[in-house]
Point group: D3
Chain length 131, copies 6
């Protein structure tokens, strides 16, 4: 089994709804360091699972829609409580769509993806999707 | 599948029993950076797997019993060879108890936990428990 | 010459005024990892430059006034363009006040301070103050 | 389930064959930070999964054959496109051989291995082998 | 006194001339993580020392001339022993030229620069230039 | 002005004397990540400030005297309160001796040294010596 991970980051504002969030109910922000992992059992003929260059571009494109924004106002996230888990799922689903469309170069066979968002040096969350 | 990780650290002395440990049989010490990961298939109604604040507090509480101590003298660890693996299991078991008691906020369903102890920049060990 | 550094972090929203900031003129956010360094020529009788425990508490107290907030609405920052440089200066000045008041334990003689704010893995800024 | 990881690094030159690699078709290089993870269900009588000291030595020995070399000229890699995935598999297979030969101390039962090569702060790849 | 740092990286091959380099006399390679720091006493009217966006672009442009190359064949480095120190000086001098040309946005007054190249997790070198 | 830094680590037990240390008065321990920086104005004929290989060896030799020990029992530290600052000074003085003896290769002229000990991800201390 192989995996390839690419990393990028985004800087966003947001607020969270629910008493469980305490002070994070207020409008605040985060630099999310985002790791996107692609997993599959085999390598393609070039010796790669995915094209790292294409994977990097696709991740950057998805984050660009959120970067330097207040997530409370982003339409694609309307109605969501933009917790780290929910954002990880959002990015994973968007990237999974791109993989299915063949846009990550797909020389091998990607069977699963994990997206991890680090909200600080002491907390992070992941969403794993089977494709 | 989702996961949430919180990180803390502790500074302890200990010695290890067994020739395999070489110089680590002497009384020495470590700053253990401790990552506690909670895993589960679904998010709760607030969009979270666990309450990160509560998870952080519970991890800190468990580490406080060991922090700034000589583990050779800690009763809860009596009879154990406090290797990084054994300490990871100890922390994982203690945290799993707290999850079962509902003290980590449990808005989703935590099915497994992984505790990783980094003993240095070049070595770390993990224990995974299914709840 | 000695120095001691303590690290903490805060999660804030803000917007920046000025065309030079491009998309960062929009309301967005950051996890700022904050390093506070104290410098001085001599160690006190206990063999320390500052009390790391007290330094950590004072840094945390100063960040707590900003943490989980929209800096555009924080009175103490009114009229400021809250760039990373300006925030580093703000935290450094606040900490310097605490040092002068003897609240960082001052067993040695702190002559200078540097506060560094990391806005992302690829960009950070510092402010150095001579006390 | 337990795991133990040791980390080392190597500095190599190489070139990649295939249009997908773009500028990486040219002779260039990398500092690969290499993490070798050993996994197994039980700890041995000393409270360890593997001997960290021996694991470190074996990883270092395998990397020494590649370190400070142009991988295009290394016989053991002849005919391979030395992508990060392929190199991860090479190191994992070599280490797995050493585990099977009992050279990693094997006090517990290692059932699987993962080798991860970080080619930069923003990209890495892993190979997982079941033993 | 203020400073701003931006980080990027490049992946290069090279060899070093001189017995002191031992195995590094062979053709090998490195991922150099490059930090460019700008220092000055005052902030400009926007509250910044340099335009972080422009600084990032200029650093990337300078590294692009070296990235994915064998430095032994790069004309701009002809006759140089491309040690980490020498490469740090090369990048610092190139960036200093850009600062003097006003291409880093220069809203404040940059008086000095430091360029640090990390060749591995355990070794790095810097060159500081006064402008 | 140039600088070269090499990094290593050690795992030690110790206790600190003085009420200011609170729980750290108890026997505990630390993994100290140790950075040794050499500074000088010029590069030698090979294009280096110091021989990184020799610098790494000398740092390792000095740390080996402390590694896997209880510092309360180490003769070379007798009578010292082994705070992070004091240990940084100890390592810096030992390394400075080696530089003066020409054991760090000294192709350039090392004028100053800084030794930094990281006791945890959130606290570190440095000692700078002019040679």
């Amino acid at each position: 089994m192989f995996s390839v991970t690419v990393r990028d980051h985004m800087m966003v504002a947001h607020s969270l709804r629910g008493e469980v969030f305490g002070p994070a109910q207020r409008l605040h922000g985060a630099t999310f360091v985002v790791d996107a992992t692609f997993r599959g059992p085999d390598l393609g003929p070039d010796g790669i699972l995915v094209d790292i260059g294409r994977a990097t571009e696709e991740l950057q494109r998805i984050l660009a829609e959120l970067n330097y924004r207040n997530l409370d106002d982003v339409e694609a996230l309307a109605g969501m409580n933009t917790t780290t888990e929910v954002l990880a799922r959002h990015v994973a689903q968007r990237l999974a769509d791109r993989v299915r469309e063949g846009e990550v170069g797909a020389p091998g066979t990607v069977e699963a993806m994990v997206v991890t968002l680090h909200e600080s040096p002491t907390a992070w969350a992941s969403c794993e999707l089977v494709l």
